[in-house]
C-alpha cells in the first residue's frame, strides 16, 4: 500500500518523537488512486468545522471502518491509526452536489457519451446508477474541488445536456470514489425526477437551430395534457399498489413503470421536481400537495417570488446555479445570487447544486456568492453539505462531522467557499483518496514541454 508522505502510523510517529509532519503547500501527498479496504486514520492538529456545533481548534478526528469514530479536542489516538498531521489546515464535511449528471455525461455535445435522456415522456423505472461510469474523468475533477458525493439525475436541462421527459427516472446518490458503482453507491434510488411541464410558447429547436414560436392556447393545451397524464399515471400506481397489497395480482400484469411509482405514491421516495418559473413552481407545489407527494423543489430560479407558498407547504429547495440571469427583464439583477439568503431567512431549507457535470466544481462558488449577497456563512456551508443530505433522508449518515457518520471529509487550506482555497486531502468513505485528476495531469505534462522557439 502506498502510504502518503504525511501519513505514518502511531509507532513511527512516536519513534520520531511526534515530529510534526506538516503538509507542504501544493501537497506532496500521494494517496490511493482509488479505494481499498477502509483504514484507520487519526487526523490531528486540525481546525474542525463539524457543522454540528462550534468549530474545534486543534482537534482530532478518528476514522475507522469508513466511519467517523471520534471527534474532539482531546481524543485518544488508537495504536493502529495512521496519523495525518494537518497543522494549519481546516477540516470540513465533504461537499455534496445534490443535482448533477456526473458519471452520466462525459462530453455534453457527443451523444455517445451522454446517458441522461431516454426517449419517451414517462420513465419512472429508469435508474441513474445503471449508467454511472466510475472511470469518468469528471469524477476525479469534481472530487478535487472537495465534492465527495453527488446525486446524479437523469433527464434535466443543463449546461451539459438537454433533458427530456416529464418523468425522467430515478436519481442515485453515490460517493465520488470506488472501483464500481456498487462500491460507490450511497442509495441507488434517492428520488424520482419530474421535469415539471411548463407552458412554453417559445422553444429552442435543435433541428433548425433557432427558436420556434407557438400560440399560447396550444402551449397551454400541451401543458394540461402532460399534467393530466402525470396525474393519471400516479392514480394508476395507487391502484396498482392497492391491488398488489391486497393480493389480487390478476387485476394487473406486473408493470415496471407502475411498480417504480409505488414508493412515490406511498410518500416513501421523494420527488425532485424541476421548476424555475414562479408559475410553474406554484403549479408543481399545488399538484404535489394534492397528490400527497414528498416534494423537493429543484432549480427554483424564481423561488423568491413564491416563498410564502414554499414556507407554508414546507417545501425544501435545491437551487440551481446562482450563475443565471433573471427570467424577467425587470426583475432585480441580483436575485439569482441573493434569493438563497431570502429563502433561508424565511425558514425554507435550501441547498446548492450545479445542475451539471463539468460545472459541478463551481458548487462552492455558488454558495460563496450567495454569502456575498446576504446568506450567513454557516448556513451556506450547511447548504453544500448537510441540508441536501437531510432532504434526501441521508442526514444521519452525511453532512456533519459527528461520530457514526460516514467519513466523507475534506482538508483545506482555508474557507472552502473561497475561490483560491485548495482542497489538500480527501477522505471518501473513510479512505484517503487522491486529488489527482485529468486537469492536473495535463497541466503537469504540458508544463514540462521544453521551450519551443519557432
Amino acid at each position: 500500500m502506498n502510504i502518503p508522505a504525511a501519513v505514518t502510523n502511531v509507532r513511527t510517529a512516536r519513534a520520531l518523537g511526534f515530529i510534526a509532519l506538516f503538509l507542504l503547500a501544493g501537497t506532496l501527498l500521494q494517496p490511493l488512486r482509488a479505494q481499498s479496504a477502509p483504514g484507520v486514520y487519526a487526523i490531528t492538529n486540525v481546525k474542525i468545522y463539524t457543522l454540528a456545533g462550534p468549530p474545534i481548534e486543534k482537534g482530532v478526528v478518528i476514522i475507522r471502518g469508513g466511519k467517523i469514530a471520534a471527534v474532539g479536542a482531546n481524543v485518544e489516538i488508537p495504536e493502529d491509526a495512521q496519523i495525518v498531521q494537518a497543522g494549519g489546515m481546516e477540516l470540513y464535511p465533504g461537499l455534496f452536489d445534490p443535482v448533477t449528471q456526473v458519471g452520466l455525461t462525459e462530453v455534453g455535445a457527443v451523444s455517445a457519451t451522454v446517458d441522461t435522456n431516454e426517449l419517451g415522456s414517462f420513465n419512472p423505472e429508469l435508474v441513474a446508477a445503471t449508467a454511472v461510469n466510475p472511470a469518468s474523468a469528471h469524477i476525479r475533477v469534481t472530487r478535487a474541488s472537495g465534492i465527495t458525493h453527488v446525486v446524479a439525475v437523469p433527464g434535466i436541462v443543463s449546461f451539459d445536456a438537454q433533458g427530456g421527459g416529464t418523468i425522467a427516472g430515478q436519481a442515485s446518490a453515490f460517493h465520488l470514489a470506488g472501483w464500481t458503482i456498487d462500491e460507490m453507491q450511497i442509495r441507488r434510488s434517492i428520488a424520482l425526477l419530474i421535469n415539471w411541464p411548463s407552458i412554453q410558447t417559445r422553444t429552442f429547436d435543435f433541428s433548425i437551430f433557432d427558436f420556434k414560436e407557438k400560440p399560447y392556447a396550444d402551449a397551454k393545451k400541451e401543458y394540461d395534457e402532460a399534467v393530466n397524464e402525470l396525474s393519471d399515471l400516479l392514480d394508476r400506481a395507487r391502484h396498482y399498489a392497492q391491488a398488489k397489497e391486497k393480493g389480487s395480482p390478476a387485476l394487473y400484469e406486473r408493470d415496471l413503470k407502475l411498480e417504480a411509482l409505488v414508493p412515490v405514491v406511498d410518500g416513501k421516495l421523494p420527488v425532485l421536481v424541476v421548476a424555475g418559473k414562479a408559475r410553474d413552481i406554484r403549479s408543481a407545489v399545488e399538484f404535489c400537495a394534492k397528490q400527497s407527494l414528498k416534494m423537493i423543489l429543484a432549480d427554483g430560479a424564481e423561488a423568491w417570488k413564491v416563498k410564502d407558498l414554499l414556507k407554508e407547504k414546507n417545501i425544501p429547495v435545491i437551487l440551481g446555479p446562482s450563475e443565471q440571469l433573471p427570467y424577467e427583464e425587470d426583475d432585480p439583477y441580483d436575485k439569482p445570487m441573493s434569493q438563497a439568503g431570502e429563502l433561508n431567512a424565511a425558514g425554507i431549507p435550501i441547498a446548492f447544486s450545479s445542475f451539471g457535470t463539468s460545472f459541478s466544481r463551481r458548487l462552492s462558488q455558488y454558495a460563496g456568492t450567495a454569502v456575498a449577497y446576504g446568506l450567513p456563512h454557516d448556513e451556506a456551508l450547511k447548504a453544500v453539505t448537510l441540508n441536501a443530505a437531510k432532504m434526501f433522508g441521508l442526514g444521519d449518515q452525511l453532512g456533519t462531522i459527528e461520530p457514526g457518520k460516514t467519513a466523507n471529509l475534506i482538508v483545506t487550506d482555508g474557507d472552502p467557499l473561497e475561490l483560491r482555497t485548495h482542497v489538500r486531502m480527501l477522505f471518501i468513505n473513510g479512505q484517503l483518496t487522491s486529488t489527482d485528476n485529468r486537469h492536473l495531469d495535463l497541466y503537469n505534462e504540458y508544463r514540462k514541454r521544453p521551450v519551443s522557439a519557432p
Binding site: E106, V107, G108, A109, V110, V141, V157, F159, D160, S198, I199, T201, R202, F204, F206, S207, I208, F209, E213, P215, Y216, G276, K277, A301, P321, E323, Q324, L325, Y327, E328, E329, D330, P332, Y333, D334, T357, S358, R362, Q365, G368, T369, V371, A372, Y373, E418, L419, R420, T421, H422, R438, H439, L442, Y443, Y446, R447, R449, V451, S452, A453, P454
Partner: protein, 476 residues
C-alpha cells in the same frame, strides 16, 4: 406588457440619468484601497477625475472645491472590467451562418442599447466589451468594441478610436459538428478542419488580388493616368484587405492546438497577424508558438467537456499561457458569466498560481492590450479614462459585490440606488399591468364571444444560461 414600456422604465429607474445626475466635471473617490494594476495597491487612496479622465491618483490628494465626492472608505477600486468576448447589446442573432465567409456583415450595425444585459454586466463591473459575431463561419462578421454606456443611444456605445475587428472561427462550430443545417437545406462546406483552412486561404487569396487591383488603381490615379475605371467594390473582401493592412484585428475562435497552429501558418503565408485567439482552450499546449506570434489568448476560466474539442481544456490554461509569455485575458462569452469575471480571474491563482495582480490583469490591462485600447483603459493611471469599479471587498474574493461602476467618470451603476428604486419599479409595473388589464377588459366587453378567452401576452422564457454551442448567443 409592452417591451418598449419596460425598457423606458428600466432606463429611467436603473440609471438612465448618469450625465444629468453629475453635472460636475470633477469627481473625487476617497478612502479606498486602489488596485492600480500598473503601480501597486494604494491603501486609503484617492482618485481625482476631471472631464472623464483620471487626473490624479494617490494617498494624499485633497478634495478640490466643487467636486462630487464618492466616499469609498473600506472599499476597493480597480479598473473597469474589459470583457474580450461578449455578445450583449446585439439585436437578434449574432450569426450570419449561411456563407462560409460572412465578412460583409458588421455587428456594429445591429447594436441594441436597450439590451438589459448591458445594465446587468455593468452591475458586474464590466465597462468595456468586445462585441463579436458568432462562430458559424471560418471567416465571420465584423466586430466592435463598446463601452457599456447604459442609457445612451447605439451611436454612443462604440469605444472611440478602438480598432475594429473581425471574427474568425476554427473547429467544430464552423464545420458544423454539433448541429446540422435546417431540414431541406444541404450541408455547407466546410465540414472538416481541412476545409476550414482552405476557406480562409481562398478568401485571403482573393483579398490579396483585390488589394493589388486597388493598389494598382490608386497608383495609376496618383500618377494622373486617364481614363481610369476603379475596380468593382467587394464588401466581403474589403475587411480582409484591412486585415492585411493591419487596420482590423483578427479575433479567432479556436479550441484545439492543431487548428491554432494552422491559422498561424496561414497568417504567415499571407502576411497578417492574429490579434487574439478566443477560447483557445488548448493554448497551454502551444503557448510558446502563440507567444512568438504576438497573438493574445482570451480564454475561459474553467469551462470544459461541453464538446469534444473542449475535452482537454484545463483551468490552468490562463496561468500556463501567461507563464510562457502570452498576453492572456479571461472572457465571458455570456451575458451571465460577465457578471462575475472577477471571480473567474481569481481562479487562476488557485489553478496555476498567478499573483493577485496578475490575476486582475486577466480582466483589465491584458484585454485592454489585446484590444489595442491600453493607452485609455485597463489600469488606474493618470490620463486614462475614468472607467472604474468599486467593490465592498477584495475583488478576488467570492464575497466581493460591486457597489458602483463608472465610465468616463460617470456613475452608470450604483447598487444603493438600484436597491432603493426596486419598490418604485415594482409599483410602476403593477400600475401599468393593472391599466393594461382594465383596458383589455373594457375593450373586450362589447364583442365578447362565449368560451373564447383572450390569450395573455407572455414574454418568452430566457434560457437558463448561455450554452457552449451558442444556443442563446449562437456564438461560442
Amino acid at each position: 406588457m409592452n417591451r418598449a414600456i419596460f425598457a423606458v422604465i428600466l432606463l429611467a429607474a436603473l440609471g438612465g440619468k448618469p450625465a444629468s445626475a453629475q453635472n460636475t466635471n470633477t469627481v473625487f473617490i476617497q478612502g479606498a484601497t486602489i488596485l492600480t494594476i500598473t503601480h501597486g495597491n494604494i491603501e486609503h487612496g484617492s482618485i481625482l477625475i476631471q472631464n472623464g479622465k483620471i487626473a490624479a491618483v494617490g494617498a494624499d490628494l485633497k478634495v478640490p472645491d466643487g467636486a462630487t465626492v464618492i466616499d469609498a472608505s473600506g472599499q476597493f477600486v480597480m479598473p473597469g472590467i474589459i470583457d474580450c468576448h461578449s455578445h450583449i447589446a446585439v439585436d437578434g442573432s449574432v450569426n450570419e451562418g449561411a456563407p462560409a465567409v460572412s465578412s460583409m456583415v458588421n455587428i456594429a450595425d445591429v447594436l441594441n442599447p436597450e439590451d438589459v444585459n448591458i445594465y446587468r454586466d455593468l452591475a458586474g463591473g464590466v465597462t468595456t466589451a468586445n462585441i463579436l459575431h458568432g462562430s458559424a463561419n471560418p471567416i465571420g462578421g465584423q466586430t466592435v468594441v463598446i463601452k457599456l454606456r447604459w442609457g445612451k443611444p447605439a451611436s454612443e456605445l462604440p469605444f472611440e478610436g478602438a480598432l475594429p475587428g473581425i471574427k474568425f472561427a476554427l473547429g467544430e462550430n464552423p464545420k458544423h459538428s454539433n448541429f446540422g443545417p435546417p431540414p431541406g437545406i444541404p450541408p455547407r462546406y466546410p465540414a472538416t478542419r481541412l476545409g476550414v483552412e482552405e476557406v480562409i486561404r481562398q478568401a485571403f487569396t482573393e483579398a490579396r488580388e483585390y488589394k493589388k487591383q486597388w493598389d494598382d488603381f490608386n497608383r495609376r490615379k496618383a500618377a494622373g493616368e486617364q481614363p481610369l475605371i476603379p475596380p468593382r467594390r467587394d464588401e466581403k473582401l474589403e475587411p480582409l484587405v484591412e486585415v492585411l493592412e493591419g487596420k482590423r484585428y483578427v479575433h479567432a475562435h479556436c479550441y484545439r492546438a492543431d487548428e491554432i497552429l494552422m491559422l498561424l501558418r496561414v497568417a504567415r503565408e499571407f502576411g497578417f497577424k492574429v490579434r487574439t485567439f478566443q477560447h483557445v482552450l488548448e493554448g497551454y499546449k502551444i503557448a510558446d508558438e502563440i507567444a512568438a506570434s504576438g497573438a493574445g489568448g482570451s480564454t475561459f476560466s474553467d469551462w470544459w467537456a461541453y464538446k469534444m474539442e473542449a475535452y482537454d481544456a484545463i483551468p490552468y490554461n490562463a496561468a500556463l499561457m501567461a507563464e510562457r509569455g502570452v498576453v492572456v485575458s479571461v472572457n465571458s462569452d455570456s451575458a451571465e458569466e460577465a457578471r462575475h469575471l472577477n471571480q473567474e480571474a481569481a481562479k487562476s491563482m488557485k489553478f496555476g498560481g498567478l499573483s493577485p495582480n496578475d490575476a486582475l490583469k486577466l480582466i483589465t490591462l491584458n484585454p485592454a492590450i489585446q484590444l489595442g485600447i491600453d493607452s485609455r483603459a485597463g489600469s488606474i493611471d493618470v490620463g486614462k479614462d475614468a472607467d472604474l469599479v468599486i467593490y465592498n471587498h477584495d475583488p478576488l474574493s467570492v464575497y466581493a459585490v460591486v457597489q458602483k461602476t463608472l465610465i468616463d467618470g460617470h456613475v452608470y451603476f450604483d447598487r444603493e440606488r438600484d436597491l432603493a428604486q426596486r419598490s418604485e419599479v415594482a409599483k410602476e409595473k403593477q400600475a401599468l399591468l393593472d391599466k393594461e388589464k382594465k383596458a383589455a377588459e373594457t375593450e373586450k366587453k362589447p364583442e365578447e364571444k362565449p368560451g373564447k378567452k383572450a390569450e395573455p401576452k407572455k414574454k418568452p422564457p430566457k434560457p437558463a444560461g448561455d450554452d457552449a454551442y451558442g444556443i442563446t448567443a449562437g456564438a461560442q
